[in-house]
């Protein structure tokens, strides 16, 4: 990666870090092992950010959606679905590239040197569809239909899959609370194992969680082609050199589809274009 690309990438990481700090600014929570309990938590944040993180000042949209769908009196989450539609229609997966704390963590992990990084592999394309299955099954169907005798569904994605919850909420809270340490079981071990796998894979593969697992990325990806903020390739300027496709770590070719569902709008292609054909 040349110096210009590198500088731009660190600029993006700066924005990601500032946003992560803003949305996790209840620093007292980290000192006391508690979470923020104020009214701001009525509001969702755009990225995947566990609301049980001691610093979180907003609600995770995926957790919130499961909470509403799984509640006994509501079976559709208009508020959260509307929020996701609003954000998605404005920005698409720009949120993934710039405003998601778990995206930042994966970005930084991928900077760790490793002898053989993995780009594209057999089955990659099919595996990218997995996030839509996870969205449908674990975020919508299971909380809606797998309910207890009170009619309440559990947040199955958070419970069984989400490594962000383990990293941002589980580990700090368990470290800071003796009472929680005494009740740990197989679920905590399972979630930590998933987190370790995610961390290891993030060193090898660029953003494996975003590519294959994240239901929030799946939602925003649907809006990528029609969102207000999106890329356009000036066909008159484009020489077809493919410099943009070569720098894309999500393996998107902007000359074929500038608003591909996998594009996280990191801006690398835009900066790499020698003709300034991407706007």
């Amino acid at each position: 990666m040349d110096k210009k690309q590198n500088r731009n990438e660190w600029k993006r990481h700066g924005v990601q870090a500032v946003w992560a700090l803003l949305t996790n600014s209840y620093l007292l929570g980290f000192a006391e092992g508690k979470i923020y309990r104020g009214k701001l938590k009525n509001l969702c944040v755009p990225g995947l950010n566990c609301y049980s993180c001691p610093g979180a000042v907003g609600a995770c949209p995926i957790g919130a959606m499961q909470a509403v769908i799984g509640s006994w009196n509501f079976k559709f989450a208009f508020y959260v679905a509307g929020f996701l539609m609003f954000v998605g229609a404005l920005m698409g997966r720009f949120v993934c590239g710039w405003l998601c704390p778990f995206g930042l963590i994966q970005d930084l992990l991928h900077k760790i040197p490793f002898p053989q990084k993995i780009g594209i592999f057999r089955g990659d394309k099919l595996l990218r569809k997995l996030k839509y299955v996870i969205l449908l099954v674990f975020v919508i169907l299971l909380p809606m239909f797998a309910v207890d005798i009170m009619g309440q569904g559990a947040p199955y994605f958070c419970k069984l899959i989400c490594p962000a919850g383990t990293l941002e909420g589980g580990i700090p809270l368990v470290l800071l609370n003796q009472s929680m340490r005494s009740v740990l079981g197989w679920l905590y071990a399972w979630k930590n194992a998933l987190l370790l796998i995610t961390i290891f894979l993030s060193v090898l593969i660029y953003r494996p969680f975003c590519k294959y697992i994240c239901p929030l990325g799946a939602v925003y990806s649907v809006f990528n082609p029609i969102s207000v903020f999106r890329y356009r390739v000036d066909k008159e300027k484009c020489t077809g050199c493919k410099a943009c496709a070569k720098v894309c770590k999500m393996q998107v070719d902007p000359t074929l589809n500038a608003n591909h569902p996998e594009c996280i709008r990191c801006g690398a292609c835009k900066k790499a274009c020698p003709e300034n054909a991407i706007r």
Binding site: S52, A89, A154, P155, K159, G165, L187
Partner: protein, 49 residues
């Protein structure tokens, strides 16, 4: 002006629809469910419940 004319109409309509849906959700009383979940430690999320 040219930039404005290129704004995706579909995107603007969906963003507006999103706002309407948020309003419906708030009127239905979904916000307190979100708040209730978010201000209490989610045992499932952290791997205990």
């Amino acid at each position: 002006m040219r930039k404005f004319l290129h704004v995706s109409k579909g995107g603007v309509c969906l963003a507006a629809l999103g706002l309407v849906m948020m309003g419906i959700g708030i009127l239905r009383g979904e916000m307190p469910i979100v708040l209730q979940k978010a201000i209490n430690i989610c045992m499932e999320c952290i791997g205990i419940g």
